[in-house]
Symmetry: C2
Subunit: 348 residues, 2 copies
DNA sequence: TTGTAGGCGTTATCAT
DNA sequence: ATGATAACGCCTACAA
């Protein structure tokens, strides 16, 4: 006398209810249960209710692995966990991650992390693994920069992705991207300084020709010209607080009329702020990124809508994840100016 | 004349190589390929090499979904993406995430994020979904607090997890946890102040009886007693910069001898720093969490070994993920004191 | 409207 | 040392 019902071999874990379990309880076939869940309209109401009751009673949860195996879709997107930099700025990933997880959950997608690798080649290989292994269907690329080989690399591998950061220097977007309009931010920063009574607004930027830096500079330059604020004053230095302090000290020494300084980052802004304090000069320093540091110092700073950026990335990805193939789109988001109440200790 | 080889129906995506593909190329069975990958010792060296060559040639990548379906293991752990708080402190999750992803990768585990929910009940339900659906095998709980219902909830559901944060008030650890020895940190902070010449070291803490707060207070209190620094001075206020500034201002006014102030957080430290500056008082403020804000102000601050904590969480989880059932363990990590060179603008 | 059949890619068992 | 076979849980196509 043999047993009819085949048993699982491993049986190591307490078996959760499956479609079969529910079907047995409801007295229908597996398929009917599946339909009740996905195509309720194709079932007789009575059957549907009966099945749904059984679903609730058993506490049935679909197996994502089985679903993925059958549909060839992981329903997950990958994003990099950056090696934390000891600096001040850097994209505040926390907010981005949360935004992604939030939007993902709304649309039935999980977010999986992969660790930052020593170089772009290693990262590409890892992402390839992640996608090929089915850990994720798409990737969100963060912290993209000008000479970034990753977008092209991913495109070449046929990986679905969206970048947080513009593909600078290209007109037709070669891939989906979301970015924040830095020029708009520094323009607002400059306007803010003028509104507060500044007459001479300088810019403290980065030396390299990175597009992000040029973008941020441009908003300031444009506004200075529009407002006829006189000869533009600008200086550049590495993204380092001490360097910024030195630069600013020198700048203040040779420009007695400088009122305000728009900075390309909060790191620079901190240095500038220190220099002004040391020199006993009244200088309205505006930062970029609205980190807690700027808030702590009472400095206004340009705030990127990070959460919205994350949401947008997912939304750009969604049609592709559904299998559609729309032309690549780029979305430029507007930043806001975060102005701490109270203002800096030094005045203004 | 019918085709022998059954074709996939969907055929929507370019099919990657499978065990079957490799097996065909190597002229062996699927199972032999699988063995070559997992139990090389059970194969004739010649066969093994032949198979591995075929693996490389085809660029074969195992399907995680199929593996998971067969083994009932997701090889993934879940962690919460916190809703970003506008405050200064808060666990710097970036570092934790990266550490987790890093350690996970080393051990063949992915990290999946889930979005913070409005309340603990919702979070428990979500985690339950994540685990039951097979999106992850275990959870790392962050930001646990005293009256946290999540550990008990997870334990009740039989979810494998590790908490970053101690189960206060219990002797035998009811579950795996990793935490940082706050008392050790504030003790070091106090010693540091003494070494720098402070005679009277106060403490600025939190009003609630949260264990974390008591822990941090304890290290200071102990050291003050050991060093015979006289009558302990302490004051508490909400974890808010403005409140801290008010408290400290009042404290400074009534205690002319106060030299240094150990704080339970960088948020408090910022307020204390402002108060001291406003009052023109020489006060060595020491923070907790070593956020960029403390660094920006030049304040020493207790630094939690966040990355190490993440690694340890994963390591505690590993045996359970392997199916073993060791007694719960707790690990207490030692913080360090981050002392910015240069020191604060105000002196010291 | 419902049920049956087969396949998704892997691993485990057991026979050879 | 290798291979045949049978699940794992779900989904799509098609038959009833």
């Amino acid at each position: 006398m043999t047993t009819d019902v085949p048993r699982a071999r491993g049986d190591r874990a307490a078996q959760g209810p499956t479609l079969e379990t529910v079907a047995a309880l409801a007295g229908v076939s597996r398929q009917t249960v599946s339909n009740a869940l996905h195509r309720p309209d194709r079932l007789a109401p009575a059957t549907r209710d009966k099945v749904m009751a059984a679903v609730r009673e058993t506490g049935y949860r679909p197996s994502l692995a089985a679903r993925q195996l059958a549909t060839r879709r992981a329903h997950a997107i990958a994003v990099r966990a950056d090696q934390p930099q000891d600096g001040i700025s850097g994209l505040v990933l926390d907010a981005f991650f949360h935004g992604l997880a939030e939007a993902g959950q709304r649309h039935g997608y999980r977010v999986v992390l992969y660790a930052q690798q020593p170089d772009e080649a290693a990262e590409l290989a890892l992402v390839d693994d992640v996608i090929a292994g089915g850990a994720a269907d798409a990737v969100v690329l963060t912290a993209t920069n000008v000479h970034d080989s990753r977008p092209a690399g991913l495109a070449a591998s046929g990986v679905t992705f969206c970048a947080f950061g513009r593909p600078w220097g290209v007109d037709e977007p070669p891939h989906d991207w979301v970015d924040v309009d830095g020029a708009l931010g520094t323009a607002a920063a400059t306007e803010h300084a003028v509104a507060r009574g500044a007459r001479r607004v300088g810019f403290l930027g980065w030396p390299d020709d990175a597009a992000t830096g040029r973008d941020r500079r441009e908003g300031w330059a444009r506004t200075v010209a529009e407002r006829a604020l006189g000869e533009p004053v600008e200086v550049t230095c590495e993204n380092d607080t001490d360097a910024a302090e030195r630069c600013t000290t020198a700048l203040l020494a040779r420009d007695a009329g400088l009122d305000a300084l728009v900075c390309a980052s909060d790191t620079l802004a901190l240095g500038a702020h220190r220099a002004a304090q040391a020199a006993g000069r009244r200088l309205l320093v505006v930062g970029f990124d609205a980190t807690p540091v700027a808030a702590a110092l009472g400095l206004p700073s340009v705030a990127q809508p990070v959460r919205e950026a994350a949401h947008t990335c997912l939304e750009l990805l969604l049609p592709r994840l559904r299998g559609e193939d729309p032309p690549p789109r780029g979305v430029l988001l507007a930043p806001t100016l975060a102005v701490p109440r109270g203002g800096p200790a030094g005045g203004w």
